[in-house]
Every structure is written in structure tokens, then in C-alpha cells.
């Protein structure tokens, strides 16, 4: 168990390792309807959230879906 620093939408926070993307989403109560998660410039497929481990200094962007036109 180790505290790691990550960046979410430009803000630095610390979380306890090991933590998967799925656990992180649950822990942060990200509940914005449709969204995608970009880690270090790569959108993570939804089916891989469970197996995607968050690492120290990961730069995470929660991209909220835009539907207007």
C-alpha cells in the first residue's frame, strides 16, 4: 500500500495503490452520464477499466460527452 500522486483534469490528488481505473471512478464518484477517460493522451476502452492500473504521475482527463449540434 503506497500513496501515489496523480493528476485528474489538471488537479493533483493522491490515491492509495494498487487501484484500477474502475475503482478510481467509483472512489471519485464520477457520475457525469456519458464520459470517456483519457490517460496520458490515450482513451481507455470501457471494457479495460477493470484491468487498467493507475500509476504514479498518470495524467487523467475525464472527457464528458458532448451531444449538441
Amino acid at each position: 500500500m503506497k500513496e501515489i500522486e496523480i493528476i485528474i483534469n489538471g488537479k493533483s490528488i493522491s490515491v492509495t495503490e494498487p487501484i484500477s481505473l474502475q475503482q478510481l471512478i467509483k472512489q471519485l464518484e464520477i457520475n457525469k452520464g456519458k464520459f470517456a477517460v483519457d490517460i496520458n493522451g490515450q482513451i481507455i476502452p470501457k471494457s479495460e477499466y477493470q484491468n487498467c492500473d493507475i500509476r504514479e504521475h498518470d495524467n487523467i482527463e475525464i472527457v464528458v460527452a458532448v451531444g449538441g449540434g
Partner: protein
């Protein structure tokens, strides 16, 4: 191509990447544009003026006063008219050379698939997620490239999904269709020139797909924040377990 056509398209035909061959491809192309609002206005106007031979315009709505701040294909005297009719008139004035087909009702699944099959490129300029997922499915099933654009408030998103390429993600790889979200310009507001930027990029991507030149936004999601004037790009791969693009 006659002299008048040569002159009309001369400033793009002088680009070696386009030339007569590219112009011919544009002339022979058919583009399905869904939605004639804030995004469909600039994208259809640029595709018409650039000489895309056949535009199929789909919208069931009528022009409303509250549309005119951003939907620049329609004008004040058009209030109350079907958007397809008003759009056809503007596009025909811009370029009488092209063919325009209008559909003034919402397409059901079968009609949408049929139109997708007939098109070389689909432009998603719709304003709701239900339509976006339906268009994506038709794109995947018909293997017709989809240029997806969306905007709300001060934010825009654009990507190209190209099911002709087996490695290409689809819109459903990006977003889930099981949660209800209401993110429309009508409900949330939008700054007008943002739609011009996103719609113009959609037209630009569609032209490149038609002419098969350059590199598109396939496999990339482009994000624009016009409040802080920041562009961001993320790589977007196929979800190996996507319920839509793994079926076809």
C-alpha cells in the same frame, strides 16, 4: 468540366493535392448530412461551395427565431419553413451545379441504413445522443465513414470513425449508450462561432475522405475549449468488446 466549373473551383484545384482528380472525386461524391442546425449549416455550405456533387440533407425541424443566432444557413424570412427547404435554397444559390436531396422526417433504422449505404461519407450534425448512436450503427453496418462533430456551451469534440478500416474505433467505443444524458444546445446554450469551427472541420475531414488525401481524425478525438482557446487531442482505439463494431 467546363470553363465555368474550372473557374469556380480553380482556387482549390490549383492545390497539387487536389487538382482535377480530387475535384472529380468531389463531383462524384454523395454526402449524407444529418441535422441542419449549427453544425450542418457550415458543413453543408462548405461542401456545396466546394462542389460535392450530391448532398442528402436530413432534418425534420422547422426554422425557429431562436435558431438564427447560430444556424447560418437559414435567414429571418425562413422562420416557420422546413429546415431542409430553407437549406436547399441557400445551397442552390451558393452552387446551382450540385444535386440536393432533402428528407424532412426523422429516418427510421431501415431508412437510415439505406441512406448510409448510398453515401460516401456521413456527417453527424445532430443534436442528441439517440440519433448519434443510431447514425454510428448505420455507419458501422454500411461501412461508410462517419465524421462526427458536437458542440455545447464553449466546448467542441470531433472525430472520424472509418469502418472501412478494421482497426477503426466507432462512436460506441468512445461513449456508452446506456446512460441518459441531455446535452443539447437548446437546453444548455452554445456560442455561435464554435459551431462554425467544428462544422467547418467536419466539412474539411469529409473532403479529405472523399479525395483520399492527407490524414484524418480517425483514431483521434479532438477536443476544443474556445473559452480558453485550447485544443487537445487524445488517441482513441477500438474497444475489443464494443457491442456495435464487433458485430459487423
Amino acid at each position: 468540366m467546363n470553363d465555368e466549373q474550372l473557374l469556380r473551383y480553380s482556387r482549390q484545384m490549383m492545390l497539387p493535392e487536389i487538382d482535377a482528380e480530387g475535384q472529380q472525386r468531389l463531383t462524384d461524391a454523395r454526402v449524407l448530412i444529418i441535422g441542419l442546425g449549427g453544425l450542418g449549416s457550415p458543413s453543408s455550405m462548405y461542401l456545396a461551395s466546394a462542389g460535392v456533387g450530391h448532398l442528402v440533407l436530413v432534418d425534420f425541424d422547422k426554422v425557429d427565431l431562436s435558431n438564427l443566432q447560430r444556424q447560418i444557413i437559414h435567414s429571418t424570412p425562413d422562420i416557420g419553413r422546413p429546415k431542409t427547404e430553407s437549406a436547399r435554397e441557400t445551397l442552390k444559390t451558393l452552387n446551382p451545379e450540385i444535386k440536393i436531396t432533402t428528407i424532412d422526417h426523422a429516418l427510421d433504422e431501415k431508412e437510415l441504413l439505406e441512406q448510409a449505404r448510398l453515401a460516401d461519407v456521413i456527417i453527424d450534425a445532430s443534436d442528441n445522443f439517440r440519433t448519434r448512436f443510431a447514425i454510428n450503427k448505420a455507419s458501422v453496418e454500411s461501412k461508410t465513414p462517419l465524421v462526427s462533430g458536437a458542440a455545447i456551451r464553449f466546448e467542441g469534440q470531433i472525430s472520424v470513425f472509418d469502418p472501412r478500416n478494421d482497426e477503426s474505433p466507432c462512436y460506441r467505443c468512445l461513449y456508452n449508450d446506456d446512460v441518459a444524458t441531455q446535452e443539447t444546445c437548446t437546453a444548455n446554450g452554445v456560442i455561435a462561432p464554435l459551431l462554425g469551427i467544428i462544422g467547418s472541420i467536419q466539412a474539411n475531414e469529409a473532403m479529405k475522405l472523399i479525395m483520399n488525401i492527407g490524414e484524418t481524425l480517425n483514431g483521434k478525438l479532438m477536443l476544443l475549449d474556445v473559452m480558453h482557446m485550447e485544443w487537445n487531442q487524445a488517441r482513441l482505439g477500438k474497444d475489443p468488446k464494443c457491442p456495435v463494431c464487433n458485430h459487423f
